[in-house]
């Protein structure tokens, strides 16, 4: 059966790169200083994607569960690290908290969806498992990062207010409850916003990809709905998990705020 889409060769890739040349020329002409970072980013993107293409092709051909699980774990670990890297503060153990949350939330939701909703046989069929996990991870990482950052900033900025509540007899949960809620809300905003305007303002990437690959739009839309529910549930789970773990790290069992455990770093945003 011939492919339902046009395959791209090196010539097409080179032609697409010409699009970028226009920008490079403009940047050089106007001395915007963008040329260098644009070149680096573009080269990284090309190399990373070509490599990932090769790796995935290899794994897809194996039809074995272990390589799929291995790739999934590597992806989840990178997501867990990236989530912490984007925050402005750290506490001891924050990396483990992030990894634990990412792995649990993404694997639970993706696993349940593969087995219970899509009913992929076998479950480790890489064609389904890897892209779905990737999309869930990308969004969960965002949610975790935002919730974690909000919680830590809230502890740092709101130390006096939190300790005032503790001093008035609040338990640590009572003292932190407002901040926990605020952090969850912050972590969920991108997902909620995306769902609000999906199909109206934005055509989601996965859906467009499927349509390009020859899927009927009505089928592609159903996939998109499923993946959005997966993303929303994994993001909520991740944001809640990481906020609770951060709460446990920054408030001790004697109902004390341990803000000295927070350390500021030059966060990347």
């Amino acid at each position: 059966m011939p492919a339902a889409y046009l395959t791209l060769g090196p010539v097409q890739l080179a032609l697409a790169a010409v699009l970028l040349l226009v920008n490079l020329g403009l940047s050089a002409w106007l001395r915007l200083g963008l040329a260098r970072s644009l070149l680096v980013a573009a080269s990284r993107m090309v190399v990373q994607l070509l490599l990932v293409g090769l790796v995935l092709q290899f794994v897809f051909a194996l039809h074995q569960p272990l390589p799929v699980l291995g790739i999934a774990l590597v992806m989840a670990t990178l997501a867990g690290v990236a989530a912490v890297n984007r925050t402005r503060r750290r506490f001891p153990g924050v990396l483990w908290d992030s990894l634990l949350t990412v792995v649990t939330a993404a694997f639970l939701v993706t696993g349940a969806s593969l087995l219970g909703i899509l009913r992929v046989r076998p479950w480790f069929e890489a064609q389904y498992a890897i892209p779905l996990l990737g999309m869930v991870l990308g969004n969960t990482l965002n949610g975790i990062s935002l919730a974690l950052d909000r919680f830590m900033e809230g502890v740092a900025d709101g130390r006096e207010a939190i300790e005032a509540r503790l001093a008035l007899g609040a338990s640590r949960w009572e003292a932190a409850h407002g901040l926990v809620r605020e952090s969850l809300r912050t972590g969920m905003i991108p997902t909620i916003n995306a769902m609000m305007v999906m199909g109206v303002v934005s055509l989601p990437g996965m859906m467009t990809g499927q349509i390009l690959a020859g899927a009927a739009p009505t089928d592609a839309v159903r996939y998109q709905i499923v993946i959005m529910f997966m993303i929303a549930s994994a993001t909520a789970l991740g944001a809640l998990g990481v906020t609770l773990l951060a709460f446990r790290a920054l408030f001790d069992a004697r109902d004390r705020l341990r803000s000295e455990r927070l350390r500021r770093v030059g966060g990347r945003r």
Partner: protein, 228 residues
């Protein structure tokens, strides 16, 4: 481990409200105080004195359980701090920090908010009691309707103090409560604390201040912190 204490047995007649023994605190390798011991009996008005940076604030925070104890013990109503459930402990021993921190909204709401904490279950915010306190310092009930973000520094401290007093702790820790206030506001704070003290037999306070005349007015004895 046994369950944390929420309701202590009745206090023996001659037992102190608060007993502190062998407290030590070091910051960055410098010892602020060591072997600090004292007891506070009902009705006592205790000044905590010491030069700036001697650890008076840290001492009050430790007594309130907001800082870990490095060494020594704090015993409230015959029960060691370590055995208390901290919300129940802080219901009886309350710290008024130097800088007031009030939630958004009206003063009335700020005063009522802590009554929602489980440690205060069974007690209710009584606006009449708040007005009674306010009258003693020449203010009317309209103060309760003000927005906390529009209060002056003195008014904020007044509201924060009122919030603590309405929760009726047995021991009050006042950390420089009038440091940034003018004379009128300072007088109001002193009057309110005095009113609270005389409303119950089983009450006492610790007060830190830089103002020697104020210490003279508000305390009957003092505890010295730091290398004096």
């Amino acid at each position: 481990m046994s369950r944390p204490v929420t309701d202590p047995p009745p206090r023996l007649a001659d037992a102190p409200l608060l007993a502190v023994a062998g407290l030590r605190r070091a910051v960055d390798g410098r010892t602020l105080y060591r072997d600090l011991s004292f007891a506070v009996a009902p009705g006592e008005r205790v000044a905590v004195r010491g030069p700036s940076g001697s650890g008076k604030t840290l001492l009050l925070r430790s007594l309130a359980g907001l800082e870990p104890l490095e060494a020594g013990s704090v015993v409230l109503l015959g029960i060691s701090q370590a055995d208390w459930s901290m919300p129940a402990y802080r219901r009886r021993l309350m710290l008024l920090p130097q800088r007031p921190s009030l939630p958004e909204g009206s003063v009335d709401r700020a005063l009522a908010a802590p009554f929602a904490f489980r440690a205060h279950a069974g007690r209710r915010y009584d606006p009449a009691a708040a007005r009674a306190y306010l009258e003693r310092v020449g203010r009317t009930g309209t103060f309760l309707e003000k927005d906390t973000s529009r209060l002056s520094g003195g008014e904020q401290q007044l509201a924060a103090l009122l919030r603590v007093l309405l929760l009726e702790p047995q021991i009050l820790l006042l950390d420089e409560p009038t440091a940034s206030l003018d004379a009128d506001a300072s007088e109001a704070v002193e009057a309110l604390v005095a009113a609270w003290l005389e409303r119950g037999d089983e009450r006492a306070y610790l007060w830190t201040s830089h103002d020697a005349a104020q210490i003279e007015r508000v305390s009957s004895r003092s505890v010295v912190v730091g290398s004096a």
